[in-house]
Amino acid sequence: MTALDALPPTGPGSPDATGEASGEAGAGPWRSAWRRLRRNPAGIVGAVIVVLFVLVAVFAPLLAPYRPATAEWFGQVTPTSVPGPSAEHPLGLDSFGSDLLTQLLYGARSSLVIGVVSTGVGLAAGALLGILAGGIGGKVDTVVMRVVDVLLSIPSLLLAVSVAAILDRGPLAIMLAVAAAQVPIFARLLRASLLAQRGQDYVVALRSLGLRRRRIVVGHMLPNSLGPVLVQATLTLATAVIEVAALSFLGLGDPNPAVAEWGRMLVTAQARLDQAPMLALYPGLAIAVTALGFTLLGEALREALDPRSSR
């Protein structure tokens, strides 16, 4: 719970008590957060990494010199050596005889898709549970939160492994597995955030105006509770990239061994660690840098959205 407590409560705006009309024209709370974000160097580094990662993933077919997972040059790979960098293959070949650079670039693509989809699914399911628990309260809250507690008590990787093992192997299974591990985190976070809103004056004021509870929860409390969730989603993308790699590494990913996926590349590199350490280094680095980018961006977002932080 401590990690959740550390997140900023997005209570009613920054205490800007005086001044007839402060701020720029049309500046909403999101815009001032954006302004703070732009001034945070770590956040900019994170944002650059994330943007690069997304661009690489989207434009992989244009950037990559060859097609992925072709094993075209399998003949050049011997049991004791993998060809290193050359004019045709700037990073050399992988152990299946595909171009390593191509594999890496396409790896970004599968990481992005799996990361975004799994986080999206986890966020949606978790948010739904969180809204039920925090918005309705009472018995619904108790039941939902006990289920979430049970899910939380299982280590997230173990949960993901179990789900991946139960479902068929394949990209969809991985996405659902990673998503399942995120659900309880989002549910708790949104619930806590909504509960913090429930006692706010503006919520009492809205009730005094005869607005229905659903309207107040969805139309007013939810937008005020989204900050921490957005931060968590960014951080979760980092976890998702790592978790996808971990699942592949454990052999629960795509059954095709030559597929362009960073975790899978790490597994196959393992066997040749002494002959071609670069095979492990590149995908490892890619995973680490991507996760770092999302983490930096997430942390910067957290600071930018914290109403107590100075601008």
């Binding site: 007839e20 009309a21 049309g26 909403g28 004021a205 809205l206 005869g210 607005l211």
Partner: protein, 329 residues
């Protein structure tokens, strides 16, 4: 015609592990259509809890509410949540104390105004927007067409309180409960906001319950006044009566504590000694007795009625040694 009739309202908060606390202990008052009625008292006397109870905004789990609140023929305390929601915002509305926190920080003023309008009237989006601009203009916000697209944090406290007033008045309610509407504002702004509020209320024939600790505010606005102490009404009178001939010792104490321009130079203000915590349970005697200079055994001889001071029914005080009688003695 009586619009709101609160009778024997009692609110008790109970929490596991601590004794029950009765914040409102049998309060009765009524409000006629178009009238401004004051509820006056210091912090902790039950003013705000009374207003929340009337609006049905107290948490159901921890607060026990009894008595009756008849508004225009229906008992609000026995109305279903859906019935209550239909009337809140439309027939009766509330202006809250703290304009800094009573608006949703992430929505524009326009959204917050049109939402009420669209909930209770059948205006379409465009008409509601137009009405919102009009309402902002009516509460004295300059350039309402631009302001309607702004966020709460771009406005000063006084401006925000005007917006809250505009929202409360949006559906032309028949009764407004204003809970310390000017307390959180600068003194210079207080008078302006109060003028806007009372002006609009008088103009539209809306009745108002004005809750305040500030006798200056009461003097300038109310038709009738109820003075609250420790959860009970201790004195009730028309405004002129109350200021001319205060009877309850608590009321006289409050008036003596107000700075006056016409007081002789060098006169010290007289605070009411002690605090609300030093109180007797009402069924033992007068709750104010421990702080009262003239209290004796008679004040500690059981529950004192609101008619204890004698005199006309229109001016009653829950006091066995009312101020005037002593002067006559």
């Amino acid at each position: 015609m009586t619009l709101l009739e609160v009778e024997d309202l009692r609110v008790t908060f109970s929490r596991k592990g601590s004794p029950d606390f009765t914040a409102v202990d049998g309060v009765s008052f009524d409000v006629d259509a178009g009238e401004v009625v004051g509820l006056v008292g210091e912090s902790g006397c039950g003013k705000s809890v009374t207003s929340l109870a009337v609006m049905g905004l107290l948490p159901r789990r921890s607060a026990r509410v009894s008595g009756s609140v008849r508004f225009d023929g229906t008992d609000l305390l026995r109305a279903s949540p859906a019935q209550l929601a239909r009337r809140r915002g439309k027939d009766l509305a509330m202006v809250f104390q703290d304009p800094m926190t009573s608006l949703n920080p992430v929505l524009t003023l326009g959204r917050q105004l049109t939402e009420v309008l669209r909930t209770h009237t059948d205006l379409d989006r465009a008409a509601a927007k137009k009405e919102a601009v009009e309402l902002l203009g009516r509460v004295g916000i300059p350039d309402p067409r631009r302001r309607v697209g702004e966020y709460p944090h771009q406005l000063s406290g006084g401006m925000r309180q005007r917006v809250l007033i505009a929202i409360a008045l949006a559906c032309s309610p028949r009764l407004i409960i204003a809970d310390e509407p000017t307390t959180a504002l600068d003194v210079t702004i207080q008078a302006q906001v109060l003028d806007v509020l009372t002006g609009l209320v008088r103009e539209s024939g809306t009745a108002m319950v004005l809750i305040t600790h500030d006798l200056g505010v009461v003097a300038g606005t109310c038709d009738r006044v109820n003075v609250l102490y420790a959860g009970k009404v201790v004195e009730r009178a028309r405004r002129e009566e109350l200021f001319a001939r205060p009877r309850h010792r608590y009321t006289t104490g409050l008036l003596a504590a107000v700075p006056r321009v016409d007081a002789p130079e060098g006169t010290a203000l007289q605070p009411v000694p002690g605090s609300v915590q030093d109180r007797l349970p009402w069924d033992v005697g007068c709750a104010f007795a421990p702080r009262c200079a003239v209290a004796d055994e008679a004040c500690r001889a059981g529950l004192i009625g609101l008619d204890a001071a004698g005199g006309p029914a229109a001016h009653s005080a829950r006091c066995v040694h009312p101020a005037e009688l002593e002067v006559a003695r």
